[in-house]
């Protein structure tokens, strides 16, 4: 909402500079998010007076002496025919930049020096008048800035008006608030003529006036429709003051009739539409739903097909306007128009919104109707509009019909002052509350602690006591409330387990050198079922991802396209799977993708090794241990293309897999890990409380403390086993046997070598383990170790056909 500081002053004599108005409105009403000085380019111009003037022979020029208040008379050459000695004019000193962009310089003309310029209205950008220089009718002394003499300087305040306060979509509405904040009262601007003194013909559903019959099909769609007949007007340019008003809010002057309707829109928040009366057929106008198949070409030239969801204004036979949205082309006011029918009405927000969405158009009028205008002011606004049009376009008000029902009386709302104080955290008495509400138009009564308030007709957002609390709080000022922290009780909600788990996983991956990403979760289609967005942002990626690795793969390609081949990224985010029917199954996943150098380049190696499958396997184990510290993890070989399936306490949680990319030849292979961390929404864990502390000792159950194992006091015994292992036998199978046979005294088992080649039989490989044994209380004897070794070899041979390597 654009508000002109000057126009606002016409509604309320606040007497405040624009900055102060901005700060007051922002602090108490609505945020002023724009603050633009208009006519700022005229700031350097001053009032100058011509004290002597003579013609320059054989030219249309005059040579003048101008007093600009500096104490030195300036010699100025002027081409205007109307220079009058003693008169005051806008004066541009040398160095002044003209609105057209050029700079006034000292120059010689016909042998005369000119030190400045006397200006016409056109040169100042104030109109088209170029008959001569602009004579100022002012008592102001010479040298006074022009902007303090002419009512031109203005400041535009751009208000962010939110949906609950449509009453602020007018200068009158903002003026009401400003009046309350400054202890003044609103008034009708002096520039407006007295409201038209016509007696309306009234009716609930229809009325005839001036030869036009007005009917409302449904009072639920239209609360009141005023039709004013004005005859004998002349469409033409607006007077300057009206043009300035329209331009002050960013509009463009069209003609006197249209500008007057815009004055009502921006001044009073009342949409007004003027029909050319001669174009309305059958001496009738009505408000009704469109019939299926009807159409209308609107003012913007668009042909629109209508149906019963759209409310229209119709003459005896066809629609002539979209109610609350836009007029029709055929009934538009033109230069030839002499008689108009002025529509001043209120339409139901819901039907205007429906029509707006159906037709995909929005106008200043629909914006206000959708949010709700002041229903009770329609008739008085109609009189103001009629009088204004007659004042600027001539003619006379012939008749007025006012059809509709009065809005229901506003229900009052009561609030206890003790509740106001309790909710605000500051003592606010009943009288103070009532006074604040009265200042913005509420009718109030105070009964002890209880304040009863009836909202004014322009407010549609007051239904319960807290709505009054809001008005009291903002008018009184949030800045007055105390802001000292006070003690609070502990909450009952424990941390969501997926949050703490996610943070642990994230910290582990960051510690491992990975970069966290937060990309968009949308993707293109796939062979498998995915969750589709019904109204996606783009048809290229209308689906929600079911895998984070897929998103990471696209991000890796983005990096490759920018010649970045070393990618190590991860995300903890949401994956979406189609559920039963239209439902969606949601889970928090972690995904990581690595490719390229495993570490930054360093002079000690020609090229760092590249990430490989073993790194990805390690990442998976790292994630699992971070997520579920006490769990048992097993990475089980998986079906191609996946490498491993991650089993956590026996449950499959995710995969380690090569990642296929659309990659250039120089790119390394990419490997990925994805784990499901948990379903969402998860069943909420029990509330915090004494019982919970009893059960868990107050600690986070997911991080069971590690048990201390006494440090060894006895020597370890260790030996290596170099084995020849048939290709069909996995290392894990050998390890299982090694552990099983070794028993409790086996302290550690380390696979330290793999060899394939001609030193072992075809179809086998050599694997070497180092086994470390320790007895907690005594030194192990050689014999014991030897026996263990023999038994291991025997069992390995028997169970797995694995033998000691001899070559």
């Amino acid at each position: 909402m654009n508000v002109s500081h000057e126009w606002l002053g016409a509604f309320v004599p606040h007497g405040l500079p624009a900055e102060r108005v901005r700060d007051l409105i922002t602090a108490h009403v609505a945020t002023v998010e724009g603050f633009e000085r208009t006519r700022a380019e005229l700031a350097p111009f001053v009032v100058g007076q011509v004290v002597a003037s003579e013609r320059i022979p054989d030219t249309r020029l005059s040579f003048n002496k101008v007093d600009d208040g500096t104490g030195t008379l300036l010699e100025v050459v002027c081409g205007a025919p109307n220079v009058t000695v003693g008169a005051k004019y806008p004066f541009a000193r040398t160095g002044t930049t003209m609105p057209a962009g050029f700079v006034i310089e000292k120059k010689k003309i016909r042998g005369f020096t000119s030190n400045g310029m006397l200006c016409s209205a056109r040169e100042l950008g104030l109109g088209d008048d170029h008959d001569g220089i602009y004579a100022l009718d002012t008592e102001a002394p010479v040298g006074t800035p022009l902007l303090s003499v002419l009512p031109l300087a203005d400041t535009r305040l751009v208000l962010d008006v939110l949906p609950n306060r449509p009453d602020l979509l007018s200068h009158l509405g903002v003026a009401r608030e400003l009046a309350a904040l400054t202890g003044t009262t609103v008034r009708l601007p002096e520039e407006l003529p007295a409201a038209a003194a016509v007696t309306p013909v009234r009716g609930a559903a229809s009325a005839s006036a001036g030869g036009v019959r007005v009917t409302l099909a449904d009072s639920a769609d239209c609360g009141r429709y005023c039709a004013v007949i004005i005859r004998g007007l002349k469409v033409g340019p607006s007077p300057d003051w009206l043009r300035r008003r329209v331009e002050s809010v960013g509009g463009r002057s069209i003609n006197n009739v249209v500008d007057a309707t815009n004055y009502l829109l921006h001044g009073f928040g009342q949409p007004v539409h003027a029909f050319d009366l001669a174009t309305l057929g059958g001496g009738a106008i009505g408000v009704r739903r469109a019939a299926a198949g009807e159409s209308l070409t609107t003012l913007d030239g668009a042909a629109r097909t209508l149906d019963a969801s759209v409310l229209v204004i119709a003459d005896a036979s066809v629609p002539v306007a979209l109610a609350g949205l836009m007029g029709g082309k055929a009934t538009e006011v033109t230069e030839c128009t002499t008689d108009v029918l002025l529509e001043v009405a209120t339409f139901a927000p819901r039907v205007v919104r429906g029509g707006r969405r159906k037709l995909g158009m929005s106008t200043d009028a629909s914006y206000r109707y959708e949010r709700g205008i002041d229903d009770a002011a329609v008739e008085s606004n109609a009189r103001i509009a009629a009088a204004l049009i007659v004042a600027v376009a001539g003619g006379e008000v012939a008749a007025m019909a006012s059809v509709g029902t009065d809005p229901a009386a506003r229900a009052s709302v009561a609030v206890a002052a003790t509740k106001v104080s309790r909710l605000l955290g500051d003592a606010v008495g009943p009288e103070e509350s009532a006074a604040l509400l009265r200042a913005i138009g509420f009718a109030t009564t105070v009964d002890g602690d209880r304040v009863t308030a009836t909202p004014p007709s322009w407010r549609h957002d007051v239904a319960r006591d807290v709505d009054l609390v809001e008005d009291i709080a903002r008018l009184r000022g949030f800045d007055r409330l105390p802001d000292a922290l006070t003690a609070a009780r502990l909450g009952t909600v424990p941390d969501h387990p997926l949050y703490t788990l996610g943070v642990r996983v994230r910290n582990a991956l960051v510690a491992d050198g990975l970069l966290e990403v937060r990309p968009l979760p949308y993707r293109a289609g796939a062979e498998r079922p995915l969750v589709r967005v019904r109204n996606p942002l783009g048809e290229d990626e209308p689906f929600l991802r079911d895998s984070i690795l897929d998103t990471l793969a696209r991000r890796a390609e983005h990096n490759l396209a920018r010649m970045q081949g070393n990618v190590r990224i991860f995300e903890i985010g949401t994956a979406f799977l189609p559920g039963d029917g239209a439902s969606v199954k949601e889970a928090i996943h972690v995904g990581a993708l690595v490719m390229g150098a495993r570490r930054p380049p360093h002079f000690t190696e020609s090229e760092p090794p590249a990430f490989d499958a073993w790194d990805a396997k390690a990442l998976a184990e790292r994630m699992v241990h971070a997520a579920w510290p006490a769990s048992r993890v097993e990475l089980k070989p998986a079906e191609a293309p996946a490498l491993w399936s991650a089993l956590v306490d026996g449950t499959a949680r995710g995969v380690v897999t090569p990642v296929a990319l659309d990659a250039p030849v120089w790119a390394s292979a990419a490997f990925g890990v994805e784990l499901t961390l948990g379903k969402m929404p998860a069943r909420p864990p029990a509330a915090r409380g004494a019982h919970e502390y009893e059960r868990t000792g107050g600690a986070d159950r997911s991080t069971t403390p590690a048990r201390y194992v006494p440090l060894p006091t006895t020597p370890a015994a260790e030996f290596d086993l170099a084995l020849v292992v048939p290709d069909a036998v996995s290392a894990a199978a050998v390890e299982k046997t090694l552990r099983g046979v070794s028993g409790e005294m086996l302290e550690s088992l380390l696979l330290f070598d793999e060899y394939r080649g001609d030193k072992v039989p075809a179809g086998t490989r050599s694997l070497a383990w180092r086994l470390t044994f320790r007895h907690p209380e005594r030194t192990l004897r050689d014999k014991e170790i030897e026996g263990r070794r023999a038994q291991l070899l025997k069992t390995l041979e028997k169970e797995l056909n694995v033998r000691a390597r001899t070559t």
């Binding site: 605000l424 502990l490 009952t492 941390d495 937060r518 969750v531 019904r534 990096n559 929404p681 998860a682």
Partner: protein
Amino acid sequence: MADSLTLDEFLARVAAFSAEARPAIAAADSADALEGVRAKYLGRNHGWLKDLSAALGQLPKEARGAAGKAFNDARTDVEGALETRQASLAPSSAGVALADPTMPARHAWRGAVHPVSQVIDEVVAIFRELGFTVALGPEAESPWYNFGSLNFPADHPAMDLHDTLYISDDVVLRTHTSPVQVRTLQSYPPPIRVLIPGNVHRRDPFDPSHAPTFAQIEGLVVDEGISFADLKATLTHFANRFFGSTKTRFRPSYFPFTEPSAEMDVLCGVCKGSGCGVCKQSGWVEILGSGLVHPAVLESAGVDSERYSGWAFGMGPARTALARHGIPDIRLLYDSDVRFLDQFAR
């Protein structure tokens, strides 16, 4: 094992060590290969040398002097051979590098928490000091949780502020984290003190300051006697902790689920209030929206709105991240370019 080794046996092992290690060193043709040889013979954990020194302990006491000397000689000899080989192998190998200690260190990759997550972490850390915990909720939400329970009037312009992505008539992508307010109030009795971080989705195309999916972090307090003064005190404390000593101001605003509603600004960090391009000459920068929880929201969740009151706030960490790092375009937060992410490494 004790006393099972004779001096002769030990000396034979030492000889074997030298005899095997020296040719292996000579044969190593790369820094990597040489490192393998070093590990095998001189390695601290499993090298041959370690085995020898263990065996030294098993010798009879009177034999240890001679054995020790032989051991040390062999070690010096092999180590010397190794160093010589190292020097001849690669001018870039570690031994040479130490001659110029100004050469750069060998680093691992450094990881980074995403700048948006960093803001969330900091917000969470500050509110944790005040006893807040973290609640989460789903992103695919029912329209009731997303709108109805939060006092959005049906078919009202307030809905236009949340251009919604629909999965079906019954499932939307949540447009804000506020549905988790109602879910939390349904699951837990007051007092409630939670933070709710999470991604939200709107049908807003990308531009330099808007994204279709973005993070929000929201706070909710519900208990008996909670007031706007509590809101103001807590959020002002937060602002001072988060931005360093600053000033706040509260402006009236509108959210369907709070009443009264207010937006909180902090003094512009660039101009300190005098007005500049960053704050659009206002001297203030908008940080978060807030308000007292609307009683209709408490009632949606089955909480007695006469007995309990509450306050809530919500902020967009991306905006803070852009401002604090001087990132000109929000899309950089989504592109996942490693050169961008590396700048936030820790």
